[in-house]
Symmetry: C2
Subunit: 499 residues, 2 copies
């Protein structure tokens, strides 16, 4: 087992080095460094791929599990070790499923498609992007065939983000969500809108930075093993549980954007810091899924960060940075920061509308991959769904089908993770409320450690030991459902909008 | 040739990745990341070593040059290509000269010795460090034997920093320097000391940063392909000619320390940016030697940065940042920033004393490696030389033999490069004055590009095509000599001290 783990750790060292280079690229790298950096990253990735698919790893793995059948060979393995070798086998099979020339073709086409997407979005011109997207879709369908699936091709792609998830299962979960969500939105739209003019002022960005850092530390981000920088798009990157980097962006016209971004990324980073160090390098040292990762960031950002109790603690602190807010009370502040407004753009969306954005994308991309949608019909399909879910129509494709980067890097199957994160998070939080005495009272006093430690124990420390749905069941005793999330939204927003 | 270059470029990609990790370690890495970072760097270094000593490289090389005899095999090679394969062979022979178990032993002992040095310096206790240094010396003597040499063991170590340099040659060069330098120092000491109380004020570090950045750009550092950050010890690291990083440190009590550090590192960085891009990855894309590198940093820092002409241009700019300096004139400023004072500490030393510090170290370390000095006698040897060169005696070993890190990482042979840099730089500058019309008039107007471009053409673009002494001869038409440096110092300081 030691030998197997050592090979995996060596691969991880290359990945961790590449992560530093990625982080540097997005934060500090001078412009001139870009071309060679791309070459270095491609080379590290190639070396990692060679090791991850090499005979050495396969040989060591085969001492524990039969590569072809999946039957265990080593009968002395603990449950953890069994899961470990099963995951290594699963990952290896996926890695070798794609022929080298396919990987190269995909890699080249991804670069070209991303360039084309940037240009098309800027020029609001879908037609120039269409041939690139068409070929990308063809390649992704091919990829799904290489991986294999039981029911639908889209399932093979989903599995890369949410292990075990299927088109059918996502559709069932989202189905339970849609009706109640659309109804809630209608009710909110019929209510009197909240006046949030106070937020439209200018807020010094240095003070935003200081306040954000205070909050990140307060909720439990260990700054001895983390740091925050500024980048064009906020992200989290874990180099090791002892070295996790987050970024934010600050805008003096948007006090909350930078702050909630910091809390969101801190949620991701607290997860990374909480992964089991002794399993670092093995699959058990990894996060359970994209959706579980997103549950952690959204839980801290929305469920905690946009709660009345959080601001009972945080508003007085914020006022120290912005005396201009001295007359605002917690009740009004709480309503202002939770204003619900339909938006064309996913990343600018509030908590209520957000999942609708995702459901729309799931509908469109699962139809594309599972069916036979003509690429030129995609914008119309998008706009039709927009009308159905939001009652509005994008004025152009830049605020419609071209708004997200995901398809251009081949990330079909990624979107559902965002909404799954909401569902996972609400179900996890419902359990936390049961198990942590006076949780919300503690939050209102700025005591976040009980929740952070509980999440460490219930979620983070398991790494990838459980598939996401199993993890939720282990934590809550119940199968995954959209009900906790909808209950949470209905209760919160009916109070806020006095419905 | 293409295949050979591709292997070399792949090795360079690993080195460049490691350089980003080193840079990050010294600038932004959170404390917690240190342990794993060391593992990642060790792994990248191991992979690089394996590739640099692998059969693949040897096979490709052997198509052009006989590995054992050094005879050229490929008769179609250009002069550049001949030099390239000779250097690859030389580097390869050095890489394989050390047995794996020796490299591992050295690596482990280096870590232990550095820890011991840090502790010993802090506690001013040489005796606790002595056994580590003793073993290090033993290992370095062994290393010299592995490399082989014609005359003295120290020559084998010198070659790692100044290719082609020998104990005898350094002693001859330093011999020509010593007498004149000691005489100049005596004269300066008998003159009236300059009043530099103006410099003892407090100077806002933000303004120091801004001024330093302005000067770095002015002298020709291309900021599209470079950046500056803050670190505990200033350094330059070239990831590629298009991505070079420098660091500085700022202290509000020391206006000049941060500025001259920025100019010094900019000199290194301008060299890195000027290396031939088309040879990147091959030895021809590398710097000629540590000493040539140092010639570039010291030339910009001292010969230009501490000249009257430079400050004719720069003082008015500095006054914009520090109105408190408004009454200082260029003549007085020039004398103040060139004050000569004996110092126990090399890194705090002025231009005149600096080379004496190096000569002392050369005397001591060449005696250690070539002879049979008992480790416990080293502090006394050091202090005796200190008395001889400086007329002063360190009050303890922390400001004596323990002040430098070099021996603790095994850097015997490194020190001479610093003084060689002064000699190279003066001889290069003497030629620049001949070839660039009205050079000093241009400097006084802030026109640095003629010099920067001249250095690009005469020094940087050659990479490692010439060994350092050959390069100097090609540039100046004369063999290397201490005379230009001494002439420069004598002229400058006799004027400053009105001798």
């Amino acid at each position: 087992m030691k030998q197997l783990k050592n090979i995996l750790l060596d691969i991880k060292k290359l990945e961790s080095a590449a992560s530093v280079l990625h982080w540097d690229q997005e934060t500090y790298m001078p412009e001139g460094g870009g071309d060679f950096r791309a070459e270095v990253l491609a080379y590290l990735s190639l070396m990692g791929h060679q090791m991850a698919t090499g005979q050495k790893l396969k040989d060591e793995l085969s001492r524990h599990i039969d590569y072809n059948s999946g039957d265990l060979v080593n009968i002395t393995l603990s449950n953890e070790e069994k899961r470990l070798v099963e995951l290594v086998r699963k990952d290896l099979k996926k890695q070798v499923a794609l022929p080298d020339d396919f990987v190269e073709k995909m890699s080249k086409h991804t670069s070209a498609t991303q360039q084309a997407w940037i240009k098309a979005r800027k020029e609001k011109d879908f037609s120039a992007y269409a041939p690139f997207l068409e070929k990308m879709i063809k390649l992704k369908k091919q990829e799904a065939e290489y991986y294999g699936y039981e029911d639908k091709p889209y399932d093979a792609l989903l599995d890369g983000f949410e292990p075990g998830m299927t088109t059918k299962r996502v559709a069932a979960l989202f189905g339970g969500l849609k009706e109640r969500l659309v109804k809630l939105v209608e009710e909110i739209n019929s209510a009197k809108q909240i006046d949030d003019a106070v937020l439209q002022q200018s807020f010094n960005t240095n003070e935003q930075w200081k306040f954000g850092m205070k909050i990140a530390e307060a909720i439990g981000l260990n700054m001895k093993s983390a740091r925050q920088d500024v980048s064009a798009h906020p992200f989290t990157i874990g180099l090791h549980p002892e070295d996790v980097r987050i970024t934010t962006r600050l805008n003096d016209k948007m006090l909350l954007s930078g702050l909630f971004s910091t809390i969101h990324e801190s949620g991701h980073a607290i997860y990374e810091q909480g992964l089991p160090k002794e399993q670092y390098g093995t699959p058990l040292g990894e996060a359970a899924s994209f959706g579980i990762h997103e549950s952690q960031s959204r839980l801290w950002e929305n469920v905690i960060g946009r709660s009345k109790e959080f601001w009972t603690y945080a508003l007085p602190l914020l006022k120290e940075h912005y005396p201009q807010l001295k007359d605002v009370n917690v009740a009004d502040w709480y309503r202002m920061i939770n204003v619900v407004r339909p938006s064309m753009i996913r990343v600018e969306s509030d908590e209520v509308y957000y999942s609708l954005h995702i459901m729309l994308r799931f509908d469109v991309e699962s139809a594309i991959i599972n069916g036979d949608v003509n690429v030129n019909d995609i914008p119309a399909l998008w706009n039709e769904k927009m009308k159905e879910y939001f009652g509005i129509t994008p004025k152009d494709d830049a605020e419609g089908v071209l708004q997200d980067v995901h398809w251009s890097f081949g990330g079909f199957g990624y979107f559902p993770s965002y909404a799954m994160g909401n569902l996972y998070g609400a179900q996890i939080m419902e359990q936390a409320e049961k198990e942590i005495p006076e949780l919300w009272k503690k939050v209102s006093k700025g005591e976040f450690l009980p929740l952070k430690n509980w999440l460490n124990e219930k979620v983070h420390t398991h790494g990838r030991f459980y598939d996401p749905e199993d993890l939720i069941k282990v934590i809550s005793g119940e199968p995954l459902s959209a009900d906790p999330f909808m209950k949470y939204l209905e209760k919160k927003y009916k109070e806020i909008y006095k419905l």
